[in-house]
């Protein structure tokens, strides 16, 4: 039925053009990361003639990126695990049980998806500066723990939303049978429902992780000390230094280092990511 009619050809031309607008900048980014500064400036279009792998070394050293990647992995992984755990528990209760206050709670969490938290950055900053963990003599501001807590709090909305829907769609017969067999409510969740929720957790988790991996504004304000900085801050710093110490090759190498993991994750998990994006918005 679908022959290559002129109309369809036109559609292909449009789609290909759009694809070029997306792909070419990426390609240019990687190509430029292998050129030396002088040729970046003299012939920005040209392909690298001799590959300047040293740019990557410079970027890693100047931007201290290894340490920043480690921070990102640490902060984002711990955040992700906490987010999934906390929102699976909350989503289970909200999706499974009817009680007064279920809807209001659900909508409270939902509000987090519509209100950008960055507009409350000043009070958040003040709060992080006030809170001291009892027994430990430090503030949450400027620590990885603080960043993790904020990341968890602001990601909850999305994952609770997705997981509540997911738990609601799970077959209850299994749980009920388990209850009749004498399983405690606690065990029903950990042994039966949580394993069943794996696909939902995966979808929400990958999506959240990529969001955290790229998160910049909150980290900008809440993590000023060098030792705790995450990769987006490291790349941004590299950009800011570039205007005082010209090394464009290293800058583009740094950018590539920042983008590459996302690209790989995306290639592997693109189905889950597309699901995560449309989760809730499109039913069925």
């Amino acid at each position: 039925m679908k022959k290559l009619t002129p109309a369809r050809l036109l559609i292909y031309v449009f789609l290909c053009l759009y694809a070029v607008v997306v792909i070419y900048p990426m390609f240019w980014l990687v190509a430029t990361s292998l050129k030396d500064s002088w040729s970046i400036f003299k012939s920005p279009w040209g392909l690298p003639t001799d590959f300047q792998w040293v740019n990557y070394k410079n970027a890693m050293e100047k931007g201290e990126l290894a340490h920043k990647i480690w921070n990102s992995v640490l902060v984002d992984t711990v955040s992700l695990l906490l987010i999934l755990l906390i929102s699976a528990m909350a989503g289970y209760v909200l999706g499974r049980f009817r009680f007064r206050g279920n809807r209001p709670l659900f909508y409270m969490f939902l509000s987090g998806m519509t209100i950008p938290i960055f507009l409350a950055i000043v009070p958040l900053f003040a709060l992080m500066n006030q809170i001291q963990i009892p027994g430990l003599n430090f503030k949450l501001l400027d620590t990885r723990l603080g960043l993790i807590i904020v990341y968890v709090a602001y990601s909850l909305s999305f994952t609770i939303f997705v997981l509540t829907g997911f738990f609601r769609s799970l077959p209850w017969e299994l749980a009920e049978a388990a209850v009749i067999d004498g399983c405690k409510p606690n065990q029903v969740f950990w042994r039966i429902m949580l394993p069943l929720a794996k696909p939902g957790l995966a979808t929400a988790g990958i999506f959240v992780f990529i969001g955290l991996w790229n998160e910049y504004p909150l980290a900008l304000v809440l993590m000023s000390s060098e030792e705790g900085q995450t990769l987006p801050l490291g790349i941004a710093n590299l950009t800011m230094s570039q205007k005082y110490q010209a090394d464009w090759g290293a800058l583009f190498a740094g950018l590539t280092i920042g983008v590459l993991p996302t690209l790989i994750m995306y290639a592997i998990f693109q189905r889950q990511i597309q699901e995560g994006l449309t989760a809730g918005a499109v039913k069925g």
């Binding site: 449009f14 694809a19 430029t32 528990m89 049980f97 409270m108 960055f118 709090a153």
Partner: protein, 298 residues
């Protein structure tokens, strides 16, 4: 109702225990700061050192007579309206186009979504090099086409800085809406359009009278999202301007940041934050009203 057994087996302890961490975290680190924005906006002084003094509505009085505030507010509105409409049209068009082809649907979908997944930092830096007046590839392209007079210092000129920012914003977010609309289009049963064909409807009529109405719920969600996305814009503008006070493409949140963390005017910054919140809510409200009215007409 299949949850009838819940009434008997409702484990109150578990419910409280399971909800508590989420509710506590959310209340303390999300809701409380949000309410506190309003409180701090009636103060002046150092937010962190308890040296705040109540100034009533002084910050708001100053805000309403601050030209820069109205300018960045206007920029945000332009971004919401222009980027919003352009993104929705582009995404809907692309999604419909995707349903019309057979080969490469997946490839295109994956490619189009990628800018969404890329970090805002990388996007901003990458594009600011593309817009570089001297060695940026955009001006290079124009020079190669012998269109020298159309070259600009894109991010440094009043007439181009905001449009260029809007363009990159669209580039960044459009993929999400393509995927959204595409998923919505796949929901529409094929026999609907076949029936329309048999009745002699043109492609446009089919789109207007069958596809669009069936996409209405998605359209509403997409519109709300695009509004939030566009009011929330910060990293792109902040990095496009290398963190400096931006005037030609400055937005509410960059101005708020400048007032708080460069000038130390925390109360004033919170007043800007409150206005941003009101803008988000008002825009979302307008969108919902619009769709409600539309629904009655149908």
């Amino acid at each position: 109702m299949r949850r009838s057994t819940d009434a008997i087996h409702r484990p109150i302890g578990l419910m409280v225990g399971f909800l508590l961490p989420a509710v506590l975290l959310f209340l303390v680190f999300f809701i409380y700061p949000l309410i506190n924005v309003l409180w701090i906006s009636f103060h002046s002084g150092n937010v962190a050192s308890e040296k705040m003094t109540w100034v009533g509505t002084a910050n708001y009085t100053r805000l309403f007579s601050d030209n820069v505030f109205w300018m960045v507010f206007w920029h945000n509105l332009q971004i919401v309206i222009i980027a919003g409409i352009a993104t929705l049209i582009l995404a809907l068009g692309t999604a419909v186009a995707l349903t019309k082809i057979r080969r490469g649907r997946n490839f295109f979908r994956i490619v189009f979504l990628f800018p969404n997944i890329m970090s805002a930092v990388a996007t901003a830096v990458l594009w600011s090099f593309i817009f570089n007046p001297s060695f940026g590839i955009l001006n290079g392209f124009l020079r190669a086409m012998r269109l020298e007079e159309f070259t600009h210092a894109w991010l440094g000129e009043p007439n181009t800085a905001l449009p260029v920012t809007i363009l990159v914003h669209i580039w960044t977010i459009a993929g999400f809406y393509i995927v959204l609309f595409y998923a919505g289009l796949l929901r529409i049963p094929a026999d609907y359009s076949e029936a329309a064909r048999i009745d002699g409807a043109s492609g446009w009529q089919e789109f207007r009278h069958i596809t669009l109405p069936l996409l209405q719920d998605i359209m509403q969600i997409a519109t709300v999202y695009v509004v939030i996305n566009s009011v929330n814009i910060f990293a792109l503008v902040y990095l496009f301007n290398e963190g400096r006070a931006a005037r030609y493409n400055g937005v509410l949140l960059t101005y708020m940041y400048e007032q708080a963390f460069n000038n130390g005017n925390y109360g004033y910054a919170c007043a800007i934050g409150v206005m941003t919140l009101i803008t988000v809510l008002a825009c979302a409200g307008v969108v919902n009203l619009f769709f409600r009215r539309d629904a009655v007409e149908l």
